[in-house]
């Protein structure tokens, strides 16, 4: 067994095999979240399987179906600046650009953003800080959740990668590879909705590419924060209006352990229902939880307001 801490596999197959053989192993691409989690003693990678030495994993190119294939190790900066993305998937470019800072975006990858460890006020902290919250289910396998103290089980840590909302709305798929084979998964099916077991990744499996279908029409992406700083979103809203009576998308992400689609609201939107009706329906379908900053009342009000504006703006877009 490898006693190295930092290993640079030469291929996806090797990476996958090593991950299966070392239950404590962690894949690392940009490492901008992983290294902080390690510093806070929330994870103990052994070894780190560094992916950026594997050829072709960062490529962004057209694929045979008229869509685009983004290698999982493409940095958020590269994604945001690529002409194929800017032209065909501007909301994805916008979302990638909304992450943190230029320094983070130059290392953080789209694969990392999609697989981002779910986050919580009570989890992403140092050991000294967490003494007070030592029963956190996610951090220590304890018996409590400090976000929803009345819950008997479950974890409400949030899916937090900003690119996820647009990818869901676009209808992206993920190419997953392990030493036992490969599969393609709709991105929506990648998230399990629990803060602890949040991804549908099998042992040794890794995301190698994000597959985007042909571009849709224009839409709106909003990353709402109380302050334009490096922080994660209070919520993300991605909205595509219907085209020829169908295919609208209303995706709210970073508010739950998985990205959320307001399916019934989308149906109303497709049918041409008035904006207020669509928004009211969507708000019924999006469960919100109070966090330290961002009470339910606040998030509800702002999300509804922003969604209303986005629908109105989309109406104008359609008229152009």
């Amino acid at each position: 067994m490898n006693r190295s801490f930092f290993v640079s596999p030469a291929s996806v197959g090797e990476a996958s095999r090593m991950s299966q053989e070392n239950p404590q192993a962690f894949f690392m691409a940009g490492g901008t979240d992983l290294l902080v989690l390690r510093k806070n003693k929330l994870i103990h990678p052994q070894p780190i399987l560094y992916l950026r030495g594997i050829p072709d994993l960062a490529e962004i190119r057209r694929d045979a179906n008229g869509g685009v294939r983004i290698g999982a190790c493409a940095t958020l900066h590269a994604v945001a600046k690529h002409p194929l993305i800017q032209k065909g998937y501007p909301l994805l470019a916008q979302a990638a650009l909304a992450v943190a800072s230029p320094q983070i975006r130059n290392k953080a990858t789209i694969g990392g953003n999609i697989c981002l460890n779910s986050r919580c006020w009570f989890y992403n902290r140092s050991p000294f800080w967490r003494v007070e919250y030592s029963e956190c289910r996610k951090a220590t396998g304890g018996t409590r959740c400090y976000v929803l103290p009345q819950s008997h089980k479950g974890c409400f840590a949030l899916q937090s990668g900003d690119t996820v909302g647009p990818l869901v709305a676009i209808g992206a798929k993920l190419h997953l590879v392990s030493s036992r084979g490969e599969r393609i998964l709709d991105i929506e099916d990648f998230y399990l909705g629990d803060g602890i077991r949040y991804l549908a990744l099998r042992s040794g499996e890794m995301v190698t590419a994000v597959l985007l279908p042909e571009p849709k029409g224009r839409g709106t992406f909003i990353k709402f924060r109380s302050q334009n700083n490096l922080d994660f979103a209070t919520f993300n809203l991605t909205l595509f209006p219907p085209q020829e009576g169908g295919g609208s998308r209303i995706v709210v992400s970073s508010v739950a352990s998985k990205p959320l689609r307001a399916l019934k609201a989308e149906a109303l939107f497709d049918q041409g229902a008035p904006g207020k009706e669509v928004v009211d329906q969507a708000m019924k379908e999006i469960p919100l939880v109070s966090f330290v900053r961002g009470s339910v009342e606040f998030k509800k009000q702002v999300l509804a307001a922003r969604m209303t504006e986005a629908i109105a703006a989309a109406g104008n877009l359609l008229k152009e």
Binding site: W121, R125, F128, E132, S226, Q227, N229, F298, Q301, V302
Partner: protein, 761 residues
């Protein structure tokens, strides 16, 4: 005086090259042979008895050289200066906040130090804790200090004029409560030090302190080591904004570890430690009752004020003296009745942060002043002009106001901002404008002992001058302005003047940053020292040239005889002559400023400050009532800092202050839940960033202070205080919602909009 050549001009900082190339050494950058890494063990409990403390297992960790607790230091209980003594370097039998210092280790590297901390065995017995100051003063609340019943560390009761009569005679009395939050200074460089207790029993401490002279004395007291055996050397300092004047436990801890190990010991705070265990801005709760006449003239103000000290008073014991009455002198207020309580709670102690007390007090008073103006149907600018303190006033506390640009500042703000066309007129657009005013002290005397500044200026044989001053440089521009002053007096090019960072073996005693006094008092000392050096230089030059010193003058490093256009000699030649002639002489001048002030005592009349600075600020906003977002469209500042000697520096000070003011007003908060600090980092504590900085207009009033160096006062602390009140007042103007609690975040604004009747009022 001749037209100034260097002061009042736009010049670059003398330390520009060192800082822009990364070569300026901050404390963390220092390295010494054999140096060890030190770390502090901090209490994870809010309030607990220490039943058992066994540090010895830490010594078993490879690489660990020493571990210390309270037992390894003299049993000194200290406070800040001669104030309330309630602290020890390490907890003895009780910890009083999460972060309280319990022990320290020195090890070969950081990993070993961390492991050593984990091995120290501590057994705690939890005690009930209290986190809110009003709860802490109640009967039955947990007591933090046995000698402070009701958890009151300091109480100041002020009674001036006749408040009862003011209330009786008033046309209008308003009573309101205001709350402000803890915020952190968020300076870039964490607390750090290197201590070296050498074989001759001398301690050298390298650190980024604002107060080298004071720190030397505090260390002497706490370690029971003679002052002469302690040398404090200020490294380049990455910001402080008031915090780094205290005796942080890392200083004596690393010194003692160095004594035991015989090696230098470096200690550096993590960013998280900054939030748990440094000295943030206090949270204040204000119950303000103000009486006014029909025309808006203020008759009196009654204030009950809770100042949340945290677990130890430290500097707050001195600060409350200022905070409890400074803002009474912005406006003419004939009667004051104040009950100010510095209250212990089980949180980290607080400290000084730029204009301490001023942003909080101004938020309360200037918000209420607008509410009063509203009830009287008066324009907020008018009510301020009516009541503004003026030059020649003696305020309710006996403060003598000499130079005062407040009226000019208000009038300029009204003019520049387009106030009259905007105020009260754009609610349909959800736009509003608000203003606030403030006063700040220059110098503030807290004792009958020396409260000034000393400086030496020496002219070296190469014609360069060196300034020795105990006042610190931590970004605010001391270096620049002192070099400007000396260069101006000595007729030298600016590049020929150098200055040292304070080093208590070399630089003379100075009071440090109390009120905005470094340019003023430190500058006076430097000017006087330069003047004395100039006299000696001219005497020597006269001897060398066989001329009359009265006929000589200096310009651009050269010596001229009156009436002759060509220079006769250079300063270098004269200095060389002086030093190397028979019975040679150093050209070294000394200067001192000892303010002719009386000790600050809010309960009496006093004249504790050399002079006062003033400012007015207006903020224009656009409010989104659906989301609570407040967009700051522009900020106008009008600042009275007397004659501005260093315009680039002064602008930089105003600019930095406005963004800190916006942070305090809008984005920043140290959030406590059941006493636990939830957000110990830059990002989640809301530190203001480049997208929070609005378009900004800066104006300096044409004030010349008769006593200041070349007419200067201080500007470093007048532009942060008014922002929160101006912003709250602007929000009211825009949407008719009055918010009395900070920060004015979207969530808090939205809640206020909902509570006060919803959008579209």
């Amino acid at each position: 005086m001749d037209s100034p050549r260097i002061i009042t001009k736009r010049v670059n900082r003398p330390d520009s090259f060192a800082k822009v190339t990364g070569r300026a050494k901050f404390t963390m950058d220092l390295s010494f042979p054999g140096m060890l890494t030190g770390k502090i063990l901090r209490s994870p409990r809010h309030h607990a008895r220490i039943l058992h403390l066994d540090p010895t297992p830490a010594l078993k960790v490879p690489g660990v050289k020493a571990v210390i607790t309270a037992r390894d230091l003299p049993p000194v209980v200290y406070g800040f200066g001669d104030r309330r003594a309630d602290m020890t370097v390490f907890a003895i039998d009780r910890v009083r906040y999460k972060g309280d210092e319990v022990a320290a280790v020195a090890a070969a590297d950081e990993d070993a130090a961390h492991e050593a901390l984990e091995r120290i065995r501590v057994e705690y017995e939890d005690l009930p804790a209290v986190f809110d100051p009003e709860a802490a003063v109640q009967e039955g609340a947990p007591q933090l200090h046995d000698d402070s019943p009701g958890n009151i560390g300091v109480r100041i009761r002020i009674n001036k004029g006749d408040m009862d009569r003011a209330l009786a005679e008033a046309y209008l009395v308003r009573e309101d409560r205001f709350d402000t939050q803890r915020v952190h200074q968020s300076y870039a460089e964490p607390y750090a030090c290197v201590a070296d207790w050498d074989a001759e029993g001398k301690i050298t401490l390298y650190t980024g302190t604002m107060n080298a002279s004071g720190l030397q004395i505090m260390l002497s007291r706490v370690l029971k080591v003679p002052v002469g055996r302690i040398r404090v050397i200020q490294s380049h300092t990455g910001g402080s904004f008031g915090s780094k004047v205290v005796l942080n436990s890392i200083y004596p801890a690393s010194a003692v570890l160095s004594r035991i190990t015989g090696r230098p010991v470096k200690m550096v705070y993590t960013r998280e430690e900054e939030y748990f265990a440094s000295r943030p801005r206090y949270a204040g709760r204000y119950y303000v009752k103000t009486a006014v006449k029909r025309d808006g003239t203020i008759l009196g103000r009654e204030l009950t004020f809770f100042y949340d000290a945290g677990a130890y008073c430290d500097m707050a014991a001195a600060m409350i003296i200022v905070c409890s009455h400074r803002n009474d002198s912005v406006y003419r207020i004939p009667s004051i009745r104040t009950d100010a309580k510095l209250v212990y709670t089980n949180k980290s102690p607080v400290g000084a942060y730029r204009g301490y007390g001023n942003p909080q007090n101004t938020f309360a008073f200037d918000s209420q002043l607008d509410m009063i103006a509203g009830e009287l149907g008066l324009d907020p600018a008018e009510i301020r002009l009516r009541n503004a303190t003026r030059s020649g006033d003696t305020t309710v506390h006996g403060w003598k106001i000499t130079s005062c640009g407040l009226t000019e500042a208000i009038e300029q703000t009204v003019k520049a901002s387009g106030w009259k066309a905007k105020r009260g007129k754009r609610r349909d657009l959800r736009r509003g404008i608000g203003m606030a005013c403030t006063i700040h002290e220059v110098d503030d005397r807290h004792s009958d002992a020396f409260a000034g500044s000393n400086a030496h200026v020496e002219i070296l044989p190469d014609g360069e001058a060196v300034i020795y001053s105990g006042e610190g440089e931590y970004g605010q521009g001391r270096d620049t302005v002192f070099c400007q002053i000396a260069a101006e007096v000595l007729g030298l090019p600016l590049e020929s003047v150098r200055i040292l960072l304070p080093d208590t073996d070399i630089t003379p005693y100075a009071l440090g940053p109390w009120g905005s006094r470094v340019t003023y008092s430190g500058g006076l000392a430097v000017a006087r020292a330069a003047e004395e050096a100039r006299k000696i230089l001219l005497q020597e030059a006269a001897n060398m040239l066989e001329a009359n010193p009265a006929d000589l003058h200096l310009r651009e490093g050269k010596i001229f005889i009156r009436g002759i256009a060509q220079p006769r000699a250079t300063v270098a030649e004269a200095a060389h002559f002086a030093l190397f002639r028979k019975e040679g002489k150093r050209i070294r001048g000394s200067g001192q400023d000892e303010p002719a002030t009386t000790k600050m005592d809010p309960t009496k009349q006093s004249s504790p400050c050399s002079t006062y600075s003033f400012a007015c600020q207006a903020v224009e906003v656009e409010v989104n009532e659906q989301t609570g977002e407040v967009k700051i469209l522009k900020v106008w500042t009008a600042n009275d800092g007397g004659n501005i000697l260093n315009p680039i520096g002064a602008e930089g000070q105003i600019e930095g202050q406005v963004l800190q003011g916006i942070g305090f007003a809008k984005t920043e908060e140290m959030i406590y839940r059941h006493g636990h600090l939830l957000n110990p980092d830059f990002m989640t504590s809301g530190t203001a960033g480049p997208f929070d900085a609005p378009p900004l207009d800066i104006y300096f009033t044409k004030t010349h202070d008769p006593s200041g160096p070349f007419g200067a006062k201080g500007v470093a602390e007048v532009a942060a205080p008014p922002t929160a009140a101006a912003l709250a007042n602007a929000i009211y103007d825009a949407v008719g919602v009055r918010i009395k609690k900070l920060p004015l975040s979207p969530e808090n604004v939205l809640q206020a909009v909902r509570e006060q009747g919803g959008p579209g009022r």
